[in-house]
Symmetry: C2
Subunit: 376 residues, 2 copies
Amino acid sequence: MKYSLLQKDPNSSARAGEITTDHGKIETPIFMPVGTVATVKGVHQRELREDINPDIILGNTYHLYLRPGMDILERAGGLHKFMGWDRNILTDSGGYQVYSLSGTRKIKEEGVNFKSHIDGSSHFFSPESVMEVQRTIGADIIMAFDECTPYPCDYGYAKNSMHMTHRWLDRCISHLEKVPVKYGYGQAFFPIVQGSTYKDLRKQSAEYIAEAGAVGNAIGGLSVGEPAEELYAMSEIVCDILPEDKPRYLMGVGTPINILENIALGVDMFDCVMPTRNARNGMLFTAEGTINIKNKKWEDDFSPLDDMGITWVDKEYSKAYLRHLFAANEYLGKQIATIHNLGFYLWLTRQAREHILAGDFRSWKDNMVKQMDKRL
Amino acid sequence: MKYSLLQKDPNSSARAGEITTDHGKIETPIFMPVGTVATVKGVHQRELREDINPDIILGNTYHLYLRPGMDILERAGGLHKFMGWDRNILTDSGGYQVYSLSGTRKIKEEGVNFKSHIDGSSHFFSPESVMEVQRTIGADIIMAFDECTPYPCDYGYAKNSMHMTHRWLDRCISHLEKVPVKYGYGQAFFPIVQGSTYKDLRKQSAEYIAEAGAVGNAIGGLSVGEPAEELYAMSEIVCDILPEDKPRYLMGVGTPINILENIALGVDMFDCVMPTRNARNGMLFTAEGTINIKNKKWEDDFSPLDDMGITWVDKEYSKAYLRHLFAANEYLGKQIATIHNLGFYLWLTRQAREHILAGDFRSWKDNMVKQMDKRL
């Protein structure tokens, strides 16, 4: 994997860059749609490729490990071939999902015992096993196994957990060296900064992670319920420490506003279920603010879904029609809203990139943040 | 509406024809995908237009009357504009849905009292009200209000019901004359033959319906549980009586084999929820037989969904991937299977048409029926 920093914004820490892997280029800043279990829910691969057009999508190690499972993915020749996606894929390490399973998982120094949410069967993830799982899935970018602490989190727990995440990182790195790639193309490994919402821990963790000398670095443990101000404060501290010549990935973030603010702080990569999950609940993100399409006010609004027309659904369907589909609980409604929202998120990060390259990112961002903070 | 009979098959009663309405041509024989409540479930209008490519789709009067309701449809300028479909639409009369509501509906000479399946609210459909509802929906082909008898049905009930359906037909026709079209284009009206599985009643009903002199005619009350032989027997009796120079529509039929056998008997138009509903349950129709994609045997079959490649999904996705989507209960699986099945049904009726025009329909049909009667 190669990263080129192309341009720095004069009035913020925003950067435009380009990552190159064996599956092609990733122009940054980038939003990565979440394809949990080998599918971006309700979206055809063709629509993803041609209409939404991201350079990279995300898969979830925890979900893929359970279904279709390692045997099938290995025999398919990896996730790209299995799902028919020939651009980049990033997999998380399962750490976040395992954290979400509170009640059915036990975290120890050795690793995590957890029960499948599908059938209750018992499984064990360790830094070593998760590296092997990610070799088998075969994503272009793979993540360290970490513990994602909850919010709020007491200082002692956060500190101990951070140190364990650091020890796990060392185990990931040394195990990866012993397990070769499986499908003939490279896999870039990103370590993850933890430290909850404590500035000193975040600083310490960022230094430890920077020291590891990976080709890219991630910021985890945020977007778990903390106020936006804390998210931004942590992101700023960490971005200032993580090396400038490597991409920075802020995991699980966030709203369109969160994304723009974090781009301004120096983040390059984002993923979040928000555009897809909220779409399935009838919430649309637009440049003018958010729409709850289930509201009765849209019932007889026969105007196009979104005059901007970022993706074809915006002009093909009316607000009244989409509102009807949600009222009738028709799945096509979720499909339309998902394409709209992902199209919007990708447009937003592409626009951010263009404005960084043009040198006017800061004023554009400030204006967009104001505009998008409305309910229509 | 205009119908041209283009070619008759020398070895069966199959015909190739062409219907022209204000929304374009319909090449017959044709299968009409069912778009119950202003959507073919899980299929974008673009996919319907460009990939599945039917000349006409169906909407359900009962469902559209309840949601989005007449007020919204009228203000939208009719169903075509509301859902963004500029080719032909046919609406049923609600008779079949009302029949399906047994327990919550009461049929009298005046009409039918029924309760909404959504909120239990009370409604009344009469031949007159249903004509007005269909004027407001604005389909290109609208249907008479009839009673669809169950199977089995005792002779006395079937006979009385048939006569009531005939009296209702007269009321439909005289009311339609008083209610003009709403959106500037024509609406063709089709009466419906009833008579359960009794040859004398079917003959009598077909003669009554033929006498009405409508531009097209339909056969109802079949595909309600009777054996295929009875379906074919009724269809044959009726097709022999209904005028040759008008299209014949067999409502609610059926399997791919049922469709080919009825084309051979002289039917021109079909609709059925089978390709879409069965798709959502993981059943795929192919030229080689049916596939239950949920079976474990497909788990590691990485070959294309269907080598024939009628629609793009057949080559884009593998059997193992589709099986995984069903196992993980991912909606994309239903979307893929629906496009596949509708693509196959449309291919089948198009092929039938080509073979009628080429003069070798009978031998092609006999071979296809044998081939398709397998489970893969």
